[in-house]
């Protein structure tokens, strides 16, 4: 029981931490790291709450969901990293302009 809530809280913590970092950092690589940390937080919540209570079997559906999520996350990360390189080539910086162009 303790394990469940402990890891769930860590998951929530990672989610908020990632969200905070995503909003305050300007470097794109760091934003991508932040998104990945947020994702790990969500996955942790999903699996922790499915952990078995004393001797029972764990619920396999969230496990499958998280595996799906991990593959989606690596796909998105790869696309984002390739995009960062292109942005850098075109603009000379790996950051977004502060104001969206008007």
């Amino acid at each position: 029981m303790n394990t469940v809530y402990l890891y769930t809280m860590v998951g929530v913590g990672l989610f908020t931490l990632g969200l905070y970092a995503l909003l305050i950092h300007s470097h794109l690589l760091r934003k991508i790291l932040a998104i990945n940390v947020m994702g790990s937080g969500v996955f942790l919540v999903l699996v922790a709450l499915a952990a078995p209570t004393q001797g029972a079997v764990p619920d396999p559906v969230p496990h499958a969901m998280v595996i799906t999520g991990i593959v989606v996350a690596v796909s998105a990360t790869a696309l984002a990293l390739a995009l960062v390189l292109r942005v850098r080539t075109e603009t000379g910086r790996a950051e977004l302009p502060e104001e969206p162009l008007e």
Partner: protein, 332 residues
């Protein structure tokens, strides 16, 4: 007698282990996101992935732990390192200026009113507390779908429940997810050619290492694919280990022969989704539902689909690591 008296101590040890792991995770994430240097941030992130895999082990989710160890800690780390290297090489003349700029931004931000900083922190604390409260009030014993999953395991064709969910009960999700992976590669290729070719040659140590390691990785990929039917493992884990073998090949400077870069490569990339969709459609024509496998040969079918998926996932991940369309060569 002894075993019983040791039980509370065992629980205590577990609790200490979990607490330590939890704090280490949070601390690592925080340091990775706040560290002033990007390289350090990435190394910390790789370490974070390792500890995440330990957390999955503790939560009795070995399938997820395998996926995290291969993808989260392994391939994502390699991807990040390669991107960082390209970012730093590309504008190395500018890099000094860039660093100054970065520092200036940071100092400006720290000069920026502490009031807003505190306000932001407060907001995030409220969000986190709200979420934790919501989680704590969840009903305690929802076993979710564990029961129906186990009851139908017999007719699913495999005995590992997670594989049964991924490839049979919720196979449609997996089909779409393989499409996401293929789509990401398409997106990367649509940006253009490989960003920067490397000209340095591997030393003798690396050459030896890769010769030893690559066959081993391919063998382990096959093993994970095979074992997935009844124990933790399966197409994703196998595929990402295969992808790691591909990444290693690319790192020692190996490139696919130009003969294979065109249609043969594209066919291999599409293979996984293609077989999956065809298997689904064939059963519609046979009068069953989409992706409804007859229990008698569900096991064989799942292995077939998984084998195709493993191959495609591996090649796709390696191609993603390359970072661009292989046939297109940019000159300096």
């Amino acid at each position: 007698m002894e075993a019983i008296s040791l039980l509370p101590l065992m629980t205590l040890l577990q609790l200490v282990f979990d607490t330590l792991l939890g704090f280490a995770l949070l601390w690592l994430a925080w340091r990775a996101l706040a560290s002033p240097e990007l390289f350090q941030a990435i190394v910390l992130f790789i370490a974070f992935g390792l500890l995440m895999a330990l957390a999955w082990v503790r939560l009795d989710a070995p399938d997820v732990a395998l996926a995290e160890a291969a993808i989260g800690a392994g391939l994502t780390g390699a991807l990040l390192l390669a991107t960082l290297a390209r970012l730093e090489v590309k504008n190395r003349a500018k890099s000094e200026l860039e660093k100054k700029h970065e520092v200036r931004v940071i100092t400006e931000k720290s000069k920026h009113q502490t009031f807003f900083f505190l306000l932001r922190m407060l907001l995030f604390m409220v969000v986190a507390t709200g979420l934790v409260y919501a989680v704590l009030t969840l009903p305690e014993n929802t076993s979710g779908l564990a029961m129906p999953v186990l009851e139908n395991l017999e007719s699913s064709g495999v005995s590992n429940p997670v594989t049964a969910v991924l490839l049979n009960y919720r196979g449609y999700d997996t089909l779409l997810e393989l499409s996401v992976l293929l789509l990401a590669l398409l997106g990367v290729w649509s940006f253009g050619g490989i960003p920067k070719p490397y000209r340095s040659f591997p030393g003798p140590v690396l050459n030896m290492l890769s010769r030893l390691l690559i066959p081993l990785l391919i063998m382990v990929a096959g093993y994970l694919l095979w074992v997935g039917a009844h124990a933790p493992g399966g197409a994703f884990q196998g595929g990402s280990v295969l992808g790691a073998a591909g990444v290693l090949l690319l790192l020692v400077g190996w490139r696919l022969g130009t003969r294979f870069v065109g249609l043969p490569l594209r066919i291999t990339l599409v293979f996984g989704v293609g077989i999956f969709v065809s298997a689904g459609v064939v059963f519609i024509l046979l009068g069953r539902q989409f992706l409804e496998y007859p229990p008698s040969f569900a096991g064989v079918l799942i292995l077939l689909i998984e084998a195709a998926a493993t191959l495609s996932i591996g090649i796709t991940l390696a191609a993603l690591f390359l970072g661009g369309r292989p046939e297109f060569r940019r000159h300096k």
